[in-house]
């Protein structure tokens, strides 16, 4: 199993550009999550999904969108990137009652 994979590893965006952060897992987990981590801070939940076709907002959803058309994939879309979205983004998945498996992260810089 590859576990949770994320692409890209690093990206620089200009203000106003858009992009999609990819996340995939091959463990057949129902639950998937997107977090952001700002320097020196804990993880903040952006969006999560409890299964294909079902998504819900977390603590900091503004400026982001998600979709979950398959169990494996959970892409995060940034529309109109802003400097405040400079962060490290982690995707995670779990299947109850296991713990969460984190992807390696995507570092995003918005200039």
């Amino acid at each position: 199993n590859a576990g949770v994979t994320q692409t890209p590893k690093f990206r620089i965006l200009k203000i106003g550009q858009s992009m999609t952060l990819q996340c995939a897992q091959d463990m057949n987990h129902n639950y998937m999550y997107w977090y952001r981590q700002d320097p020196g801070m804990g993880l903040k939940l952006i969006y999560y999904s409890v299964g294909a076709g079902i998504t819900d907002k977390g603590e900091v959803p503004n400026g982001y969108n998600v979709s979950r058309s398959t169990t494996e994939d959970f892409p995060l879309r940034l529309e109109l990137a802003a400097p405040s979205q400079t962060s490290v983004y982690f995707c995670a998945s779990f299947r109850d009652p296991e713990t969460q498996y984190f992807g390696p992260g995507t570092r995003l810089l918005v200039l």
């Binding site: 804990g42 603590e59 109850d96 390696p104």
Partner: protein, 111 residues
Amino acid sequence: EDKVVQSPLSLVVHEGDTVTLNCSYEVTNFRSLLWYKQEKKAPTFLFMLTSSGIEKKSGRLSSILDKKELFSILNITATQTGDSAVYLCAVRDARAQKLVFGQGTRLTINP
């Protein structure tokens, strides 16, 4: 709103010392509390606690949960420089199955 608070935010000790990291929480529908270690990449799982008073132990690390006081501690004995990391506490909401993270404790072990 669900909240997880860790203390101290930062801690510097000498190799061989014992440290205790604290985590308090307010969660409407508690399911479990998790501890993670994070070194310059994705968090790695340490412990999951669901029952009060039962200590989880792994080598020099141990953790315990007090569900009455809404509190958990993570102990590290005979610290080593390799223990230097950010330690994250997170609580899982039983209804939404989402993890709420604390801001983390940055632990530095000096030789």
